[in-house]
């Protein structure tokens, strides 16, 4: 089976596995207590925090660990809005943010706040000028922008957004879930979120970094853990493993991400040559190194996923029939591109060139057969 769904989750890095097994034995105690085992757990936790902070361009005391990337976003968005409620209640988000951002925004709106959604172009890139206009409005309390889009890979104009936010004194939350461990974290964030299982760490570890000087106040019941930002007992072994995975991924990143990016270029170039009536979407250059998405006209996305699964390929789709809801992907909708027949290929560390070539070899026949069955080809 060729696993091409790294944007959903990256397989556990071998160094994370080793670190996890070590820390399960050494780091099980309560890091907040004052005896030997506790001090050892505390040491592992703080070592992980220092490593993750350094890798993400933060200070140790700015970094908190959460039980998931989604929760890091929820806490980051709502905690910053809560901390800034006297400054205003206007929230600015990109139209193609992860659902965790959009769902937090919906909650904010239900509780009387206002939300402004900034549109994207055909490549899925947020309109930087419109974003700057939005953060300039009176009462702007927080702006959110992802580093790269999770469905099509397009990089967002974080530097421009950060400059506008700085000018107007509005904090910027950057959701770096798709790029942390693969690319440098963009500068200019006030709040940064990421998810360890996307860089080869275990599931159950998110990162919430809050820049010193950014007003933040948890909206949850008081708890002294994680600088009062995240309630509950830390999963020290998983956090320690997450840090090991981040260290290992970054050490390999320059070489491995360039290799994956070249394979993505090959898919981007070859798919339209091999398959008629297909559109490769997302920005061809300003993109995450591992993600490529295309849509095949007249093809049922679920049928294509099923056929690819039978042929030994794990990929995903933003087509509506493949999701639990009846709505197609909000990302593809916002871009104005085809939502049916959609396939996202996202390459994990170590993805084999031969598997990518085999994918390119089987795809045209599968698409042709599905179209034939539908009476099109």
């Amino acid at each position: 089976m060729a696993y091409f769904d790294a944007a959903s989750t990256e397989p556990l890095h071998p160094q994370a596995r080793d670190a996890l097994l070590t820390a399960i034995d050494a780091g099980w105690a309560d890091p907040a207590r004052l005896y030997g085992q506790a001090r050892r757990a505390h040491l592992l936790l703080e070592q992980a925090r220092a490593e993750v902070a350094e890798a993400l361009g933060a200070r140790s005391d700015e970094v908190s660990f959460t039980p998931s990337g989604t929760q890091a976003v929820h806490l980051g968005v709502l905690g910053t809005l809560h901390g800034r409620r006297r400054a205003g209640r206007h929230l600015v988000v990109g139209a193609v943010e992860h659902s965790s951002v959009l769902h937090a925004a919906e909650l904010h709106e239900r509780e009387g706040g206002t939300v402004e959604t900034v549109g994207v172009n055909l490549q899925g890139r947020v309109d930087a000028a419109a974003f700057a206009e939005a953060v300039a409005r009176p009462g702007a309390a927080l702006a959110c922008l992802q580093s790269a889009n999770h469905e099509v890979g397009t990089l967002q104009p974080v530097a421009e957004a950060a400059a506008a936010c700085r000018e107007h004194g509005v904090p910027l939350l950057v959701d770096a879930a798709q790029t942390a461990g693969r690319m440098p974290v963009p500068e200019g964030w006030s709040v940064l979120t990421a998810s360890a299982h996307k860089w080869g760490g275990p599931a159950g570890v998110g990162v919430l970094a809050v820049r010193k000087g950014t007003r933040f106040r948890s909206f949850l019941p008081e708890d002294e853990r994680e600088r009062r930002r995240v309630p509950g007992f830390e999963n020290v072994p998983a956090i320690f493993a997450a840090a090991a995975a981040l260290r290992a991924s970054l050490a390999e990143a320059a070489e491995e991400q360039a290799r994956l990016s070249a394979l993505v270029d090959r898919v981007r170039r070859r798919v339209p040559e091999l398959v008629p009536d297909v559109e490769v979407i997302g920005d061809p250059r300003e993109r995450a190194p591992h993600i490529v998405t295309f849509s095949c006209l007249y093809v049922d996305g679920e049928a294509l996923l099923t056929e690819l699964d039978k042929a030994g390929f794990a990929v995903s789709s933003g087509s509506s029939c493949t999701a639990s809801t009846l709505r197609p992907s909000h990302v593809l909708e916002a871009m104005g591109v085809l939502t049916h027949g959609n396939i996202r290929v996202s390459l994990p560390r170590g993805a084999a060139e031969a598997d990518v070539d085999r994918f390119l070899a089987v795809l045209p026949g599968l698409v042709h057969r599905i179209r034939q069955d539908a009476g099109v080809a």
């Binding site: 009536d277 007249y298 049916h340």
Partner: protein, 81 residues
């Protein structure tokens, strides 16, 4: 060219899931004369998005999408070639 032309052909794709409305449109667009308008009646939210995207890919013109009283849309496409 008037804003809303009377459709020369109406395709009833109500109750059909994407990509079927798009397949029906592609099959039947040539049944209207050049510059003629096809109305696709559809209630799959994906069709609301995908018919205009199909027009962009196939260089036909998406004239407009109008809500139907019973739910769904009438999506008008002008044949360009």
């Amino acid at each position: 060219m008037t804003e809303v032309s009377e459709p020369a052909l109406t395709i009833d794709a109500l109750g059909k899931k994407c990509p079927i409305p798009i397949i029906m449109l592609a099959e039947q667009i040539n049944h209207v004369p050049l510059d003629g308008v096809v109305a696709v009646l559809a209630d799959d939210p994906a069709a609301y998005n995908d018919v205009p995207a199909w027009c962009r890919l196939k260089s036909h013109k998406h004239v407009g999408s109008y809500e139907l009283p019973g739910g769904g849309w009438s999506i008008h496409v002008r044949r360009n070639y």
